[in-house]
């Protein structure tokens, strides 16, 4: 019996039609195309488990896919096999405002999550402009850095349901208790006192091994994640920045005081591209914008929101008056009326696909890493030097700095905009990313989410880690069927 016939017995819907496979063969990245032999659209954990068991028994690769837009090549089937597209598993299983969490399936998109939480006065922490049609679960598991910097807890992941590489189903964290079911809600009568809000355990921190794994360690069929109550009042402030080091010193001062909710630093290329209504507006905006713009959102939460914002404003005023006189923090950016409302909305909602990064030329390549904020300007300089050796114009590079954990670290992201039809430009950008990436690693940049042509370099440098990772992979996916050819596997 053919593979597709077997799969049709296991799941609600399966296909091996070329048109269906083509959808998964390429993505927005520069990675080469790869074709699966079949695609399935499961509707339950049991169906996912059955497909993985079948693949395990027959040594067939499986590639889990949850989003509807893919950017970095991790879901391209590199060795054929079966794509498991989770988009029909798109239920929000429960929203618990009392314990501030939401439990949901992998097909739930940012748009869907935003709308459902908004109805009940809640929100989930988001990265900067997550694509509305991307999976919340995928981006969260991939450790996409969130814009909100004030909560000490950092990450939102709680319990998970995982299908391991042999098809067995497992729950991590406190959702692992006996009797915990997918419909474990007070209204279904299967309610357990344990609500699945502790990510740790049982026995090992299993959730850690599937984080950042790009589908190579297990397939997640639901996740519990923290949510927050919606703020009552939001106020955005801007500061034009010419000296990046000075801006970072300012952030080192204020962020440990837990001031602000969303805080971002964007260079003029990124900010112009984000806020431009048309492609034609981008050059003019770039010409008018300062080199960098710092945006800080102050929010009043459930009680006495005005008073909360007031003490934060007073603190900021004090710091600026006494120590950082060159920071001009205002509710508006001079020359850009209406920007406050516009950017506040951008920071608080998902971005409808396609990405704003496709505005200039239709395609883009990202390069991101974790670093010490004080070294940000050094990385900008490294990139400038590398770019100077090529013909790609420095003026086309976007830059975004996302402070993390009270500014003890940050994520730096550079974006290279390009015309997808221009092969020479693509090659040049790939070379720049590689050369600059290596030089940045030499200077302390941490590429914790490895993608693209830097993957082999990252794992070569981390020899002991790579060797241990492979041993762990051998335990949870002994036949290496989960997304083979990805990361160091």
């Amino acid at each position: 019996m053919s593979m597709i016939n077997e799969l049709e017995k296991l799941v609600a819907k399966a296909s091996d039609k070329a048109a269906d496979l083509e959808v998964y063969a390429k993505d927005m990245s520069m990675m080469p195309a790869g074709y699966a032999d079949a695609v399935v659209w499961p509707e339950s954990t049991e169906e996912v488990s059955a497909v993985v068991k079948y693949a395990y028994e027959n040594n067939i690769p499986v590639v889990p896919v949850s989003s509807q837009t893919h950017m970095y090549g991790s879901t391209i089937p590199k060795q054929g096999g079966i794509v498991i597209d989770m988009k029909n598993m798109n239920k929000i299983l429960e929203i618990d405002l009392k314990h501030k969490f939401v439990r949901f399936q992998p097909g739930v998109t940012w748009n869907q999550m935003y709308e459902e939480l908004d109805k009940v006065g809640a929100r989930i922490m988001m990265p900067f402009t997550p694509l509305g049609n991307r999976s919340v679960l995928s981006d969260t598991l991939d450790r996409c850095v969130i814009t909100n910097t004030v909560y000490d807890y950092g990450e939102v992941t709680q319990s998970l349901e995982i299908v391991w590489g042999d098809g067995s189903v497992f729950r991590s964290g406190s959702g692992s208790v006996h009797g915990f079911a997918a419909d474990n809600t007070p209204t279904h009568g299967l309610y357990t006192p344990s609500r699945g809000v502790d990510p740790s355990g049982p026995g090992l921190d299993f959730y850690r091994i599937v984080q950042g794994a790009q589908g190579t360690m297990g397939i997640i069929t639901w996740m519990s994640a923290k949510l927050e109550l919606k703020s009552q009042i939001d106020k955005i402030y801007f500061a034009p920045i010419e000296d990046l080091d000075y801006a970072n010193e300012f952030l080192y001062k204020i962020m440990p005081r837990r001031i602000g909710q969303e805080i971002v630093l964007l260079n003029k290329v990124d900010l112009a591209t984000v806020i431009a209504d048309t492609v034609e507006d981008i050059p003019e905006l770039c010409a008018k914008l300062p080199e960098w713009t710092l945006a800080i959102v102050l929010s009043g939460v459930k009680r006495r929101p005005e008073e909360k914002i007031a003490y934060e404003e007073h603190y900021l005023t004090d710091v600026i008056n006494t120590t950082f006189k060159d920071i001009s923090l205002k509710p508006a950016l001079p020359g850009f009326p209406g920007l406050g409302r516009k950017l506040l909305n951008i920071l608080k909602t998902p971005w409808n696909a396609p990405s704003w990064k496709t505005k200039p030329y239709g395609a883009y390549e990202d390069m991101f890493f974790i670093a010490r904020p004080e070294k940000a300007s050094e990385y900008v300089e490294i990139l400038s030097k590398v770019v100077a050796k090529h013909t790609y114009p420095h003026t086309m590079i976007g830059a975004y700095i996302q402070p993390i954990e009270h500014n003890r670290a940050c994520q730096i992201e550079f974006t290279f905009f390009y015309d997808p039809a221009n092969e020479a430009e693509k090659e040049e950008i790939a070379a720049i990313v590689y050369e600059a990436g290596v030089e940045m690693m030499n200077n302390g940049a941490q590429f914790t989410r490895p993608y693209g042509n830097l993957v082999p370099v990252i794992y070569d440098r981390a020899g002991g880690y790579t060797a241990t990772l492979k041993r762990v992979k051998g335990i949870f996916d002994e036949k290496n069927i989960l997304n083979p050819g990805t990361l160091c596997f």
């Binding site: 314990h99 807890y153 692992s176 006192p193 740790s200 921190d205 599937v210 003490y311 007073h314 880690y465």
Partner: protein, 545 residues
Amino acid sequence: MAISRQAYKALESVTGSKYISEDPVIMQGYKSGPGGYEAGLGYERVMTVLPAAVILPKDTEEVQKIVKICNRYHIPYVPYATGFYGPKTHCHVDDELIIDMKRMQQFSWDEKHMYADIGPGVIYSSLQQEAFNKGCYGVIGGGGAQCSAIANLLGDGWSPLSLKIGLPHRRILGTELVLPDGEIVRMGSLAGSDDPFWGEGPGPDLRCILRGFTGLRGCLGIVTRMAVKYLPFIQESPKPQGIAPNTSLALDEKRIRWINYQVPTKDDQVKAMYEIGAAEIGGACTKVPVFWRAIAKAEDKEEFWDIWLKESEESLKNFHLVRVMLIGYASEEQMDYELAVLDDIMQECHGKPRRTKASDESWLKNADSAGMWLMTGSYVSVEFVIESLNQSVQHGESFAALKASEYTPPLFPDFGDPGWFQNFESGHQGYSEFLIYWDQDEDTSGVDRFFLQTSKMNIENNYYSSHLGPHQPLYLTGPQYGPNYHLWLLKVKNEFDPDWICHPPVPLAHDIFVQRAEWMHDMIDWEVPEKFPMPSWTATLTKEA
């Protein structure tokens, strides 16, 4: 039987003769007990032995050499830092080596990026003071300020301050681990550099094997270096005051203060906690065991009993406190804001502030482990679990009911108090801890039985539990959580320690304990394999049942 001369000489060649010993007097110093955590219980009597030798490496290179020698000569070993965690961190098999990490006290601080880069010999006391000096703070777990910070972060690491600071495993940054076979793995930013400031990746996060909620008691290797994240605090360090042992930190109440509120009902108490979480205020918010108040007041054991025995079920039933710490991280104005919000909440919950000292006796600097066993000489936290506040409230009540109905005595009377509960991470989680006390001079088999009985009760009532992994019989809890987390845990153990050299027979030690302890046999109603999946050599070295 001792470690062979050849093996001993090989070990001695690593550290020099000054830092290795098999002197029986020294070995007595590493005996489990006589007081403290889990002291005098069946597990200690049945499962612990004196070490054959102790060795004190000075750095990772020496640790690696020692571990490789142990593998070559089949010498079982257990890593040991400060040994707080009672018998489970002591030797379990004959001819075992203790690798005592206390010489590894490397300590540096990155003030700007708020982390300490430390070795396993560094204790919380010095770390927290340095943190204060840099305008930061962290959590000192119940083990106390004399605990190894690394050991505590691998198995515990929470306190009332977790309302804001959150779970301990998120404070573990770049980490160096000597695996049971002697290979070294560096995690996070240490994986590809010598900079420990970041904890994740690259890619999948190998911190998964460091702990699993409450740790593995050292059976999956030895952490030799860890960067520990600290959180920003007020910039003025609180000032120590008093004369030992009655010391505390003086608090500037414009920036930091404890307030105790008395509320009329338990419902009000719980509601206040939910609302404090929802309002995102506070640095701590807790309801601790009522007898801790007696501990705090008493100067000695006799005085404690004088105070405590004046209480009754009736007096405790109507006594509900919520203890809240507010911190003006940014300014005095923030403190005013948080006070106003707290006042709103307490009015809704009918709370009345009680007189509260402008000092911190315990959680910021000291923790309080020494006082914890003042009353009887021994205690154990029979459960300490992080889940929802919903579970936390029910959980403590069920433990108190079981204890009162079947296990008091031998356990100390606590008049139905459900123990400690509070909210964590601004209400995203709740915490409950239930402590039990006993007299070591009496028959303690009931204590052993209560400990196991609670594990069964957790399973029956669908409660999450901290006492998984090596803390309870793995074949009891394993099928019920995950399910079958025990099979994955054993696969990981066998991958990195196929000969079970590292702290045998953990993580199956509690399984073996209930097999050996006759007074536990009638409680074994779960499926036990005919032969535990351990290498056969371990059976020849462990005590016979």
